[in-house]
Symmetry: C2
Subunit: 332 residues, 2 copies
Amino acid sequence: MTSGSIRDEEQAELLLLSGGGGGARLAAGLHVATAGERFSVVTNTGDDFEHFGLAICPDTDSVLYALSQQIDPVRGWGREAESWGVFAELSKLGGPDWFQLGDKDLALHLIRAALLADGLGLCEVTAVLARRLGVTSAASIMPATEDRVRTRVITSEGEMAFQEYFVKHRCEPHLIAVRYEGIEAAKPALPLVSLLENAVGRGVDVVLGPSNPFLSLAPILDVPGMPNLLKERARRVIAVSPIVEGQALKGPAAKIMSELGLSVSAAGWMQWMSDRYPGLIDVWVWDERDHELADTMRVTHPNIVVTDTVMSDPERARQFAERILRVSRDGD
Amino acid sequence: MTSGSIRDEEQAELLLLSGGGGGARLAAGLHVATAGERFSVVTNTGDDFEHFGLAICPDTDSVLYALSQQIDPVRGWGREAESWGVFAELSKLGGPDWFQLGDKDLALHLIRAALLADGLGLCEVTAVLARRLGVTSAASIMPATEDRVRTRVITSEGEMAFQEYFVKHRCEPHLIAVRYEGIEAAKPALPLVSLLENAVGRGVDVVLGPSNPFLSLAPILDVPGMPNLLKERARRVIAVSPIVEGQALKGPAAKIMSELGLSVSAAGWMQWMSDRYPGLIDVWVWDERDHELADTMRVTHPNIVVTDTVMSDPERARQFAERILRVSRDGD
């Protein structure tokens, strides 16, 4: 069976909910595995912020760069073959330099600013940027909401904006709670609603990427109406564990789980997700390194799939994406 | 007599009104000739505009770069040893690329945006930027007004913003008139008022640089109260002709004079300035290449000084600046 044959007309449309790190890697893998057909990505907007008066959307940009195959493979964010002319001068002139801005990356922020100033909405802007970056195929990338949602982190050192916690403080303060400012007034983005409501054939399967549950997925899933929209309209919701052998492959997910008093394991993650979003998730995807724990948990949760989830390079990301496609087709 | 000895404690404070081209060259020359002591520059804000949501102040920036000896000597604007990483990507992504933005230049615009967002006024921001760029000495650079003034050009192809006329259309449309949007509600910037009102000793001599009268000086001098402030508080106002042998050394001044039906000569310029700002100017500085015309005009205007005004390199700019210092000291 060739990789292409997995994907036939009877396959459901695939919708990935993604943060910026592992989610973007899986997005790139799925984009290749699906040839961009009937595949879309919903991005977290809780990380969005204003810097120098420019709207910066880190998770959306990571997915844009990943799908256009221009993401820096080493850093895992930003553009590859990046230059740092502006940033070097910014530092030299004593400007705020806690957030690294590459020249190519900055060009995208400037174009986004110009498009927003022209009156385009965030979804339209993202579609234009995807086209300009050369995201081939029909894959569409859409922010989860066009309403302003800002992740704020309550820590031992006080409450701070997400970027302050994540970049300036390198996730060092002890996390007490997370809140998503503005989320109570937010609505799911219209293209997302439309995609789910107008799905034909086998409908839509939703994949929750191996993204940070507190900082990447909750700002999407806590948008009022979002869980019900997914439950009612998605054929199947598949969640990929960000925890492998008690560790997060990247980022602070494990540290935060520990600080919140959760068991730092795929089981702890599954428990938190089930409590927070009851009845939402149909299939849990764990890494095969946790197969023993998975066997134990299957007594109460038969819907756990184990596989190699570690996307250390684009080829492994593609292989994992094909496994996700099989889960989507066959349910396991 | 060494250049230093020209400037003694009995010399008046010097205040240059400047656009971005010849004015910035004279600013650099005067900064060297005065060692930055008791020397200030007032910059035109009519060219200011918003681009990608950033406040861009081209004339102020030219003076900042000139005084910090970082202006590109060939282009006559922007930073020397500039790189173009952002701009190249901007063009590649189909972003608005009619206004050239170097990386170092852009870093300044970003810092200005951050300072303005912090609530600082344009004068404070300019002072911070001057310090960060390493403008040595006490020379202060101040925008003519902190109120929003925008030069708009009425042309054969319709009315357009200054940058659209100047950069996008390369001054090609036939100019019919110029207006300064918002100027009726503008006030001279407080540091400028304070400098003029609190001058001690010999007071303040004001120099109108060889800047475009319609596009650079009028947006300063038409600020309500500005001519009277200068007339009442300046000891002497010295105006440098931007026209040499019927040509502008750079920029569209001669073309515009012709389109407005004026005689394209230092005499035509003097006439326009006298009509527009009656009683303001005490000494007219013409280029020596126009000495014959000057001799004729002296019958009715004895206060014309002729000298070499062509500032083709920093040394010639310094020599011309020293000549201006002598005019300030001796009146001719």
